[in-house]
Symmetry: D2
Amino acid sequence: MTEFFKNVSKVQFEGTTSNNPLAFRHYDPERVILGKTMKEHLRFAACYWHNFRWPGSDVFGEGTFEHAWLTAGNEMEMAKVKADAAFEFFSKLNVPYYCFHDTDVAPEGSNLKEYVNNFAQMIDILERKQDETGLKLLWGTANAFSNARYMNGAATNPNPEVFAYAATQIFNAMNATQRLGGENYVLWGGREGYETLLNTDLRQEREQLGRLMQMVVEHKHKIGFKGAILIEPKPQEPTKHQYDYDTATVYGFLKQFGLENEIKVNIEANHATLAGHSFHHEVATATSLGLFGSIDANRGDAQLGWDTDQFPNSVEENSLVMYEILKAGGFTTGGFNFDARVRRPSVDLEDLFHGHIGGMDVMALSLERAAAMIENDVLGQHVAKRYAGWNSELGKNIINGDLSLASLADHALTNDIQPKPVSGKQERLENIVTGFLYK
Amino acid sequence: MTEFFKNVSKVQFEGTTSNNPLAFRHYDPERVILGKTMKEHLRFAACYWHNFRWPGSDVFGEGTFEHAWLTAGNEMEMAKVKADAAFEFFSKLNVPYYCFHDTDVAPEGSNLKEYVNNFAQMIDILERKQDETGLKLLWGTANAFSNARYMNGAATNPNPEVFAYAATQIFNAMNATQRLGGENYVLWGGREGYETLLNTDLRQEREQLGRLMQMVVEHKHKIGFKGAILIEPKPQEPTKHQYDYDTATVYGFLKQFGLENEIKVNIEANHATLAGHSFHHEVATATSLGLFGSIDANRGDAQLGWDTDQFPNSVEENSLVMYEILKAGGFTTGGFNFDARVRRPSVDLEDLFHGHIGGMDVMALSLERAAAMIENDVLGQHVAKRYAGWNSELGKNIINGDLSLASLADHALTNDIQPKPVSGKQERLENIVTGFLYK
Amino acid sequence: MTEFFKNVSKVQFEGTTSNNPLAFRHYDPERVILGKTMKEHLRFAACYWHNFRWPGSDVFGEGTFEHAWLTAGNEMEMAKVKADAAFEFFSKLNVPYYCFHDTDVAPEGSNLKEYVNNFAQMIDILERKQDETGLKLLWGTANAFSNARYMNGAATNPNPEVFAYAATQIFNAMNATQRLGGENYVLWGGREGYETLLNTDLRQEREQLGRLMQMVVEHKHKIGFKGAILIEPKPQEPTKHQYDYDTATVYGFLKQFGLENEIKVNIEANHATLAGHSFHHEVATATSLGLFGSIDANRGDAQLGWDTDQFPNSVEENSLVMYEILKAGGFTTGGFNFDARVRRPSVDLEDLFHGHIGGMDVMALSLERAAAMIENDVLGQHVAKRYAGWNSELGKNIINGDLSLASLADHALTNDIQPKPVSGKQERLENIVTGFLYK
Amino acid sequence: MTEFFKNVSKVQFEGTTSNNPLAFRHYDPERVILGKTMKEHLRFAACYWHNFRWPGSDVFGEGTFEHAWLTAGNEMEMAKVKADAAFEFFSKLNVPYYCFHDTDVAPEGSNLKEYVNNFAQMIDILERKQDETGLKLLWGTANAFSNARYMNGAATNPNPEVFAYAATQIFNAMNATQRLGGENYVLWGGREGYETLLNTDLRQEREQLGRLMQMVVEHKHKIGFKGAILIEPKPQEPTKHQYDYDTATVYGFLKQFGLENEIKVNIEANHATLAGHSFHHEVATATSLGLFGSIDANRGDAQLGWDTDQFPNSVEENSLVMYEILKAGGFTTGGFNFDARVRRPSVDLEDLFHGHIGGMDVMALSLERAAAMIENDVLGQHVAKRYAGWNSELGKNIINGDLSLASLADHALTNDIQPKPVSGKQERLENIVTGFLYK
């Protein structure tokens, strides 16, 4: 079998004294933190699409990569070459998991029958490769956004046949995920939205999408899939407006269709910022609503209004994200999937490793810093103390519903309450965080 | 009684041939469109705060206005002067409605007792003035964001006494609204959010806010208030992040606390754009979710990231908004309140009229254009035809739940479906809209 | 010869009573306004790239168009087919001008020799087609951004051979533009910027770009090209930051290299808004700096952070732009080129016409409204009166340099000046504009 | 004399093992790095306005601070109290420098004569306090934006008397800065811009502003001021658009008026991000143009569209900024002035210290990290190697002007050049930076 990454051997932890650019400086898979290994905490996955399907193109330019697996040729043959390259990469990268869309791993074919056959063949191959390498599937998904048929939506298409086509892909991708032992199944609605309100029936499209989600949940139970179903919020791009805008919007959607206990969110850093939120906000919102599922680890560019999908490189940002995740008990089925890609001019094969190694080290550092925040708990104690008044009689009576607006107003007036402003201590808390980050 | 606007008489419709800058060119209150007068459709309100409380200051500069009602002096005396000026203005402006916060019309006093007394006195005066002028109250509200005590939140404050203080204001403001025949009661949570996640318990604050909303709804029913309770979404400013971010977020919040049939939204144009949505989007989302209540009519500046609260001046934008409102049956209790202010350098008394007259003419033009779109219905027919497939057997079976993912996939495969992309006709539809706007 | 747009005949003015979607309602080429025909004022051009090269793809999806000229095949043969389709389209659209990049019209080939030969053959064909149809070239340009070789910049590439490659294309494209009677030559530096400051020498890249601009100007004079050289500002996309950020930035660049009298700007609406400016601002800035050249007519989406290149559809926005252009004397060599494309789901051949017809009608309406503002001149008079004080002795002495800071301070103190705030009348002026827009 | 900060003694370096929240953990003033002490490198200043003039108000709320120096009373008396408090604070904070606006330190009075007298008295006091404490003035400036007279601009006002008033303030503030040994004089044009283009003559206003700048430079030379004149770019807020938008815009402005060797820029982090740039970008642009002067150290909020003026707390961001400054030779007259304020709910006196201590530690850490990048120089070497081709014969001939477009095209064609894409190594370089930041 061809070796694609000849100059790279399996990436190992070498510590901060190493000068080897193809080693981890901070990610030490077996190092124990808060009772679990780094590997167990972080549950890293690399993805098929950015690394093995994207040719280095952008809206204004052709592909720049000359990687062997991108060569033109017989589609099924190339799918196998791609699988060889992908598993070599995942293995050498030393991640425990990978992720894929159905159409990343198998050619779509010219009709559904071909799609089903191609996909089935490739799932056999992936299964064998998982056995050989020990790699596991973090999640599978179906691509219901790239093909021209989805240009007006998949589940939200005005044509129910398009819904049916998407449903067929999802059916096959869910079954494949189940068979490959995938720990989650993800739904990203890149085309589930509108280009213009002038041709759109919002209520109708919402019903269609809600019904699809219900079908997915029903199918999960029918086949006994033990993993989580995850929606990945994104506000726009490619579509002008997407219905899964952000975590709070997804929550309302799930409540409307009675799915809030069945579906969780897969939060992507760059989607959070496109939606006008910090990544930290989206994760904290999800944990506070009981919706937290998994993470697409990447970063955007604060000056650019599109999904740049860069590798995470901020320990400052990710330590706070990691802190929220640890506070909420850590990942269960989820993990950190690098939905990130090297820049278009990063044409060397090694660049794929540099991007991921950097991201893994940044997340490992963030885990370590966040764990210190959990252990020391000065932040947690500050928050608990701040809200202590809600454990008083007044606080409890308000929350418990024992007081009406009238009786509470009466209480306030009778007691002539004069609540004093109390400092929020934001600057002091920020300094405490800096103290955890930089020793 | 002092006359404040000596150079202005009651503003009248004079049509497009008039050169009088203090006349309406398009807003003809008694003109009938789609079976109702313009006045009945538009239900215009002017507000107390921007016109009679704001001194023309901004973050970098002192007040610029030298209006008589802004002179320093005995607070209750000045509140009466302000009421005189306000009702003269509202009357001369020829709007049927006005809106206020409790602390716009009466001094806060140094404790709750003074607050209650001051407010009660001023409500007597407002009631008399309503009788004298025929003006009506579109909505009342309580200001639970300006006083220092609310700097860390009102309902979401870590101190339950602050919750109680806010509840007391809301209790009084709801009762006053009821007494003055107000048609809605509005809740805007300017400080209901966080400055930093480091000191915030999102789940706790959400519970507090939910409880307040429930109290408000319970009180409404208790006092037999027939108007609507409205939440006004805003994503941020003054607070870094506000829980009532946008309509979709408010929907999820209402569902969580079982209030989706009790509370609607008051949508502000400039809040929509700050949240990353078009004004049209927010209105269409609200009508599709059954949440549409009222409008704070204004506009933002596409290049500025704060609430500029300018007067609406785009017929292009507002015709589409008006179209959604008409499609949804028009306002019931709501209306167009000008939550808009003249620019800081607009120091002439007449400028207050120019701003409102411009806004009213723009909304009247928008109503006229939107009515034509409703009557002609080419847009509606296009949308109906576009989704016609969902009335087919396949479409119905999907929505009705008769098909599982498996049976739908089986259908698709068996029938070898090959749905063809159908043009969304966006450019053609946009041209049709332009055709309605410009004759 | 194949007819590509069989259902479309040459688009004609039919007025607002027409129901023909393939007719102009407002653009009446021979109608005279302010002493010139609409055709002479507006100088419309359609472009090659969006209409004949783009397949309807986006970052997340494949091409959706099945247009005959996009079929795979022999590259030179397809270039000829494309030219046939393009000239049929331009002619039927009834625009006087078109625009192209070198690589739109001819295949790049596998080396410079092939490039030069292919391009020369196609220029012969274009010349013949211009003769046959009467179409003229508004501007030509070279594509130095799509090929992988330009991924790190063209003129600003770290490798001078890439500079040389780009220079060769520009040399050929300038000569072709000259030969085809093009009225301008445009430079858009899509890759002239940086992806990361970590690998970038800003001073060096600026020098390289400056030298290229000088070469272009020298070559223009050498070959006696009478048209204008235009830089098209854009802040980012595809590159993270582009050196031609906006008009003010281009001005500084031109001053640095002594080119401010040699090069003007080609302003694109969507680039203006991506740079954080209104389109109106960019045009007004350019005219005030004497840099105004031409316009890429389109629009962005206020909620999206990338170049959506939609067709202009706001008369409100474009009337103000047109007003600035008319105030500055109208176009000389420039014109309105539609750098706009139909949405990806607009797959019908007619959609190409709908987009352009809508854009042309909007610009014609804008011209008509702006001409009324010029004729009436109430806005101009207001501005003149506002600054009248600068014609006073004090004003003149300040500007003329007769007063030092010390002598001016002495004057102010001696005279105890107390300048009174004067209303900016923004609301009144906005109402006046609305009065011009809507009758 | 009253002691205002009784619980705080002079802040000292105690290192990372200290638990004292009122000590420096990283800023060790006398520690030598790259041959200079931290104090000499960083040249910290605290400001008068945010700490001693701002009452904790925002657009939606009243002041929250109950600090003694904010008490109402006789204006000159309170100015003296404020000076006492300010110098106690600056001294205890252990910063070597401070900064002020004329109207921060002295009451404006009701006319220019009073202004001049009040200001003169307070300058006497400041001079004495500088002597007593050893504090130095980093820069002085005049506030020509808060008073109502400046609502339509200061130098760019339509009324030349307003220009004269501003000039008088600047005259006095420059003289005071000179007398107090200030090392720079700053001009920030908060109102030098427009609210609406409808009432604005861009060319005229630009001329006015250019003349003011020339007057300032002439006065500098006349009085022998040895410090630097600095313009502080900001894109908007309070004004809709400001002429000093960003560094590149200021460069063009300076070139237009022949001032590029006389004036430099004072870059503020939050102004950079409001202008759509990274802070790093603005500093790198300024050093590459020879315009770098000083820094207003703070940070914005990536989700908020206004100047939040928070304290810097990102070592990741500021290490790169510091790296640019060190590469350019470090500060000469400039320094890091904290144009930053505590959050409105940070009402404790100690919060003023927490904010600054955090900011100083972050900048000290950033200096240390950046110094390591300079010493190791792997980044610098990478850049040098990347552009090495420009030292080849071809590179030199292009830059030197020895090649025309024609001769260069001929060279390219003759040599059949085929430049190969070379990886930009962005991911690898980012990993290297992370390696410097986290040990």
